[in-house]
Amino acid sequence: MRIVIAGAGSVGAYMAEELAKLGHAIILLDNDAAAASRAESIPGVTFVLGDACDADVLAAAGVGEADVVSAVTGDDEDNLVVSLLSKQEFGVPRVVARVNNPKNEWMFNDMWGVDVSVSTPHLLTALVEEAVTVGSFVHLLNFEHGKAGLCEVTLAEGSPAIGQRIGALAWPREASAVAIIRDGHVMPPDGEFVLLARDEVLVLARSEAEDAVRAVLIGS
């Protein structure tokens, strides 16, 4: 796949290197000449010097043929402009943008051309919450512009799901158990699988189904 990455800081340079190793064609964009010298040492990555917020620079970098554009500069305004231009001027099918300040996260949606946003503070909070909480509902990731998400519940002692077969639980429509983690092992969510306390249940659900999932795994 042809991937254009805007922002050659530590995040962009790392992504470029990893994705190039996986065999993708990577174009890395930055307006900083110092970033160019760093980027030149990355094998398999084409560096383009220029302002990624300029549609002509994006065109020259081949955004018109890119499968994915990822805006990962340290500046949220720049990331939004790159996302909007990629969608509006080049019709890029998938635009992934980095949120630096969580206060700006609400803007990273399809109005600005963003298909997927990644907020490090948000992700860290979710992961810490996941690590310390038992018996509560934790959002790990959002898909489809937040309409669906991957959620996690570690079953507390009083959970109504304990001792039940997964297939016997009253799962709502638009929700699916995708895996159980027990003692560090990942188990497929077979209908005959009987849940125990401390099991971590991973559920993929649309947002409107979340309350019903809570009722199934946590109780009211």
């Binding site: 909007l84 080049f90 099918p93």
Partner: protein, 102 residues
Amino acid sequence: MFGRKKKDDVSETEETFPALASVSPRTHVRVRGQVFKLRTRPRQGMPALEVTLVDESGSVTVVWSGRRSIGGVGLGRRIIIEGVPAQGPRGLTFTNPSYELL
């Protein structure tokens, strides 16, 4: 970007337009169609005008962000739009194309 052209080039020199059904994603095109459906679709406080444009062959979706209405763009109105469409959840979608009222 949010460009708007005046209809100064309506010199009735019969311009031909590709059929909406023949438009492919990611190519810069200039197409003509009739406004078939209008709706405002606010996203977290940001207004957006979503228009379905039709011709004899098919339809495309046009989204203008940041606004609830555009003067002259009403149901049944024929307009020309120019931009690069992307494949979206509602089919082929133009985002903030330039437009001309006919």
